[in-house]
């Protein structure tokens, strides 16, 4: 009971009736969830969670969040472009929404603090970035690795140890040609690093995960391949697999639970071009991957099954739902669902864009910890 505050004006009969109707609707758990489910953006859901304790409980329930994500797939906010040479990545918003104006403003100014130095994005995952910054350390160059959250109000950047450069065991013959790739699982919370080494016919792959600010070896896989893979231009994980496009138009599949490596054929009629820019791999919910192939003006999307067969698909699911294309010096965003394209950036003649890293709205939302007794009444 509030005693100190002046009493509100007596409500009209109509207002009382509306309030009663409102409480019967919003007091029904099923109806409340159906409403919250349709809020669209996780930012709106977070705000609604603070209306009262009951709303908070529903909005933060894991089952509800799964349904919310199915209905409202993670949204792209924009894209960072890494440039060749010095400088910092530049951000370009994609299809900005007025409701997200303030949120989408942050990534644009994120690198302003280090303007003048050199930084590039290794990979992006969800709303986070793994960044390598290079600076002049009195005559020689030093680099540091940062895990950045450009969407947070504090503009968070945490220094992380450099990704491992050498295999956990010394293998004679595995020299400087081994290769390190860093990538993130889609939620942006798990960061993984893959180290690949070759010796004679033997290919070995080690998987590391960033845990408590350390790269911890998690698994490895090895195989005798008929030919040594010499390039890997595309790479990704689903839960337990690592895929990499290698020479000879094959995809190397490392399965860590079983410690095996196998080579998968590309779909019929698909070949990578000389600089490996015509094929992209994309994660797919559940299992398997999408393969996106561009040949002249034809863009095709395939997915695979467990038996290694490829299917050309027309309806693209959650994951391969957009692609970035480099068309005649213009970076173009193509929404695979609506088939609408949008110009992102026109590359100037003296400019080179090396890689493109989408930034997504954070998912799942991070709910605040509530104090006991918060909004008990409702």
């Amino acid at each position: 009971m509030e005693i100190a505050r002046p009493p509100p004006p007596p409500p009209t009969a109509a207002a009382v009736a509306v309030a009663a109707a409102m409480f019967s609707v919003l007091g029904n758990d099923d109806l409340l969830r159906e409403i919250l489910l349709r809020l669209g953006l996780p930012t709106s859901l977070l705000r609604a969670a603070l209306v009262c304790k009951r709303w908070y409980r529903h909005a933060s329930d894991p089952d509800f969040l799964r349904r919310f994500r199915d209905r409202n797939p993670p949204r792209i906010l924009g894209v960072y472009l890494n440039a060749l040479g010095g400088g910092c990545p530049r951000f370009f918003p994609i299809r900005p929404l007025p409701e997200l104006a303030a949120t989408a403003h942050r990534p644009g100014s994120f690198f302003d603090a280090v303007a003048g130095s050199t930084a590039f994005i290794v990979d992006s995952g969800g709303g986070r970035l793994l960044v390598t910054a290079i600076y002049d350390g009195h005559g020689y160059y030093e680099s540091s690795h940062l895990l950045c959250s450009p969407l947070s109000s504090a503009g968070n950047a945490v220094v992380v140890p450099p990704p491992p450069r050498r295999p956990p065991v010394e293998l004679p013959g595995i020299g400087p040609e081994h290769l390190t790739l860093c990538t993130s699982l889609p939620d942006g919370r798990s960061w993984l690093c893959v180290l690949m080494g070759f010796r004679d016919q033997q290919t070995t792959v080690w998987l590391y995960e960033l845990q408590e600010m350390c790269w911890v070896a998690r698994a490895s896989a090895a195989a005798q391949l008929p030919e040594s893979p010499t390039f890997c231009m595309a790479e990704l994980f689903d839960d337990s697999k690592f895929y990499s496009l290698i020479t000879g138009n094959k995809i190397l599949v490392c399965d860590f639970p079983s410690s095996t490596i196998s080579a998968m054929e590309l779909p019929n009629g698909v070949e990578s071009d000389d600089d490996y820019h015509s094929i992209m791999l994309s994660r797919r919910d559940g299992s398997g991957i999408y393969l996106i192939h561009v040949k002249e003006s034809l863009l095709r999307v395939f997915h695979n099954d467990d038996a290694g067969n490829w299917f050309l698909i027309r309806a693209v699911g959650d994951n391969a739902k957009f692609v970035f294309l480099d068309m005649f010096g213009t970076i173009v965003f193509l929404d695979a669902t609506s088939k609408q394209a949008e110009k992102v950036y026109e590359v100037a003649p003296d400019d080179v864009v090396t890689t493109v890293h989408p930034l997504m709205l954070i998912w799942p939302p991070v709910f605040p910890q509530l104090k006991e007794g918060y909004h008990q009444q409702d």
């Binding site: 207002a15 109707a21 409102m22 159906e34 489910l37 930012t43 709106s44 705000r47 991070v366 509530l370």
Partner: protein, 174 residues
């Protein structure tokens, strides 16, 4: 809607059923439209609601029921086509225009509709009205949401905690 009592539509006229609101108003409507309600569908399939009987709906008043039936009559043809996979873009645009107009109503009517759609299990209408409330909430701060929906004002302590969270999670609230 004064169709003749023609049995089960044997002569080609659509079969009609009668629904009776909580305040005893009788509504005669095509069975196909009333069958959008999962709750009514079985009764109607069993032959109920015809003749002089009528199906009583003790939870729905006449004002709400007439609004519900307006929705059902408009959506029945598309629903009969199995969700209208072969509907033209014009048909779909017309339904969308109707839906937008349909939920442009007072909050008290909206809440009554939500309860009716829920009790009668009319899937499309449930979705439409839930979406409408969600749209009223979208982009608003927790405090604005409470005001919009007519919640009582929070105590100063509640207000303070709300503000603290909004600072802490600034990215979500600006």
């Amino acid at each position: 809607m004064a169709a003749p009592e023609s049995g089960d539509g044997n002569n080609g006229a659509a079969r009609m059923v009668t629904l009776i609101s909580s305040d005893n108003t009788r509504f005669e409507v095509e069975a196909a439209a009333a069958s959008l309600s999962q709750t009514l569908q079985l009764t109607i399939l069993d032959g109920g609601g015809g003749g002089g009987d009528g199906i009583p709906l003790p939870n729905v008043d006449s004002a709400t029921l007439s609004k519900v039936l307006e929705y059902c009559i408009k959506h029945a043809p598309a629903a009969a086509n199995g969700g209208a996979p072969n509907a033209t873009a014009v048909d779909r645009a017309e339904l969308e225009r109707f839906d937008n107009e349909f939920v442009n109503i007072d909050q008290s009517v909206l809440y009554s509709l939500i309860m009716a759609a829920h009790n009668l299990e009319i899937e499309g209408l449930q979705s439409l009205v839930a979406k409408k409330v969600a749209d009223m909430i979208k982009g608003k701060s927790p405090m604005e949401i409470r005001r919009t929906l007519g919640f009582p004002d929070p105590t100063p302590e509640e207000q303070a905690e709300m503000n603290a969270h909004m600072l802490e999670y600034g990215w979500a609230y600006e």
